[in-house]
Symmetry: C2
Subunit: 400 residues, 2 copies
Amino acid sequence: MLIVQKYGGTSVGTLERLEAVAERVSRTRKEGNDVVVVVSAMSGETNKLVSYAEHFSKAPKQREMDMLLSSGERVTSALLSIALSELGYPAVAMSGRQAGIQTDKSHTKARIEFIDRKCIEKKLKEGNIVVVAGFQGITELGEVSTLGRGGSDLSAVAIAGALEADLCEIYTDVDGVYTTDPRIEPKAKKLEKISYDEMLELASLGAKVLQTRSVEMAKKLNVNLVTRSSFNDNEGTLITKEENIMEQPVVSGVALDRNQARVTLRGVTDKPGIAAEIFRKLSEANVNVDMIIQNVGHDGTTNLGFTVPQNEVEMTKVAMSELNASQSVEYDADIVKVSIVGVGMKSHSGVACTAFDTLAKEGINIEMISTSEIKISMVIASKYGELAVRALHNAYELDK
Amino acid sequence: MLIVQKYGGTSVGTLERLEAVAERVSRTRKEGNDVVVVVSAMSGETNKLVSYAEHFSKAPKQREMDMLLSSGERVTSALLSIALSELGYPAVAMSGRQAGIQTDKSHTKARIEFIDRKCIEKKLKEGNIVVVAGFQGITELGEVSTLGRGGSDLSAVAIAGALEADLCEIYTDVDGVYTTDPRIEPKAKKLEKISYDEMLELASLGAKVLQTRSVEMAKKLNVNLVTRSSFNDNEGTLITKEENIMEQPVVSGVALDRNQARVTLRGVTDKPGIAAEIFRKLSEANVNVDMIIQNVGHDGTTNLGFTVPQNEVEMTKVAMSELNASQSVEYDADIVKVSIVGVGMKSHSGVACTAFDTLAKEGINIEMISTSEIKISMVIASKYGELAVRALHNAYELDK
C-alpha cells in the first residue's frame, strides 16, 4: 500500500514526540508500505514567528510572512528525516517546492493548483520514506506560499490525491470522530466509518478533528481519509465515500454548537427585495449568517430570524442600523444549536419526528429548525444544550 | 552607488538589534544608494538546530542538515524585510535559491559556482531593498545547500562580485582591522585600508574579523570589502587591492598566534623521500602543518621542525608513531608565533633585521623563522608573546 501520514504540531511538539513519530512511521514502512509523511511545525514555533513579525509591523507583508512561516515545517521535515535514517530507514526531506506543490498567488492563504507527482514518486522509487514540509507550496513565479489554517492537512490530502494513495492518515491528539462530544455524553462511541458529507456537516458544526477544506478536498479527490491519535494505537475513523459504508446508520452523530446568537427582526415590510437588502448588508459586513427562518406574515409585515456567530453580533448590529425601515431588532446570545447528522436520513422517514418528540418529552422548546438532506439543526435555550444532546444520543441509540 | 551589506548573527541577535539594522539599512538607502542586504541566522538559532539534529543522530545526513540549517537565515531575511517595509522602504526577502545562488553538491560545505545576477537586479530595478538569506544556495538538482563556516560573508562577497557592487560592507561586533590586538597593545590603531594579501596573512594568523575564504573571494572578484561595527558609526577598514592604497606602510600589523605547538624530529635519515613520507603521513591524518624548518644535516642525519595547531598534537603523535625510522620526536606546546605583515616589505630592505634586533634587545630567543613576501613569522617561548608584540608594534611605529 501507499500510505500518506500527516502529523500535526502537537504530535511533533518535542524532540521526544518526534522520536515517537519516527518509530510509528518506520513501523508502517516495515509492514511493507510505501510511506509519505507530511509534517507541521513543532507546536509553538509558528506562534513565535508570528509574534516576531508583529514586533515590527501590525500588518506584515504577506509574501514575507510566507517566507517566515514556511521555515517551521522545513525544520520538522529535516529532523524527522534524520531520525528515520538513524533508525535504519532511508528517508529524504522535501520542501513544498521540492515536492512539486504549486499554488496560486494568494500569499498566506494559497490554494493548491497542481502537484507534480513525479517529484515524490522519484524519491519513493529510490526506496525512501519521503518527509514533506506541510502547509507550503510555491507559486508559478517561484515565490514561497503557505496554505493558511489547516494547511498541512490540505498538503497531505492533496498529495494523497495526486499519488492515488491507498490511505491518508491524519494524526492528531484525538482518537477519531465520535457520535457526540464525550465530555457531554460519556456513552459517546467512536465511529468506525463516516461519509464525506456527514463529516462536512459535523466539521461545520464545530467538531474540531478536521477542517472543512480538507474534507472537501478529500471528497473531490476521492481520498480515503483516516483520523487517529498519534499518542496511542487505537484504530481511528475512516472518512470515505458513501458507497464504501456497507451499513449506513440513520444518524451518525449529534453535535452541539454553543457559538451562535439569534437575531430576530419583527415587523419587516412584506414586499419583494427587503430580505435581499438585509442579507446584502450582512454580506458586505462579512457576517456569516447560518440558519434563516421567515414566517408567513400578516398585516403586510413579517418576522425574520437568523443566527450569526456570537463574535459577529456587534458587526451585525452595525449592519442592521444601516437599514432605513421600521422593523425592530432583537438579539439573543443565550441559545445553542443542536444538530443530528446522518446520510441514512435520506432513505428513512420519521427521523425529524423522533428528534422533535425527544425534545418535547424533555420539555425543551424548539425555537428554530433548519434541515438539509443529511442534517437537522434545532435552536434551543442554551441551558438545555447538554440535556438535548444526551437525549438525542439515546433516542437514536448511538451508544449501541 | 550599489552597496552590499552583510550583518552577522550578533548584529541580528535580538528583535531590537534587528530593528537597529533596519534603521541603518534604510539610512543607506535614503542617502541614494541601491542596497542589497545579506543576513545570518539570529545568534544561537543555528546552534539550537544543530543540537536538535544531534538529539537524533551523531552524524546526521548532510543533505537534511542543509534543509534544517538554511531555515535560520530565511527567518532573519523575512523579518528584516518586514521591518524595512514598516519604515516605509519597499523591501523583498529572497532565499538563496530566489537570489540565484547556485552551488556545487557538497552539502554543508558547498562552493558557490554561479550567481544569476538577473534575480536580484530585477528586484532592485523595481525599487526594492533586497534582503538575501545568507549561507545558502541551491544545487543544480534543486537541493538546498549551505556554504559552511563564514558562509554568509561568502554570500555577500559573491553577490557583490556578481552585481559589480561598489562596496561590500561586512558588519560585525568589532570596528575593523587593527595594527594588533588592542587587548595586548592599547596603542593599537585601526587601519583605514589594507590589501587583500595582508588581510589574508592576518586572517590566517588568527585575526578573527574575516575568514580567509571570503577575503580570497573578494580578491578574486575584485570586491572592495569594508569591515565595520553594527554597534556604532565608526568608519571601518577597507580591504582592497594594493594599487588602491596610495601610501603603503612597510608593516601594517603584528599578529600573535597562541594556538601552535612545535614538533621537532631529531636524527632524521638525510636521504631523498624521507621528508615526503613524514608530511604524507601528516596529510593523511588531516593535520594542518604550518611552519616547516629543515636544517642542513651532518653524519647523514638532520633535524626537522614544524608547527601544528595545538588541538592536532594527538593526531600528530599517532601519525608519527607510524613512521618506521629511528628519529626521536619532541613536542612543545609552550610556544607562540609572532608575525609582522606588510606589503611594503617587498620594496623595503631591513624589515626582518629590525624585527630580529627588536626581539634580541628584549632578550627574546627566536626558535624558528619563516618568511613570505609580505610576512615574517617567528616562534618564541610563549611567556614572551605579549612583550614581543608590544616591542614590534613600537619598533615599526604602528601607533603613529
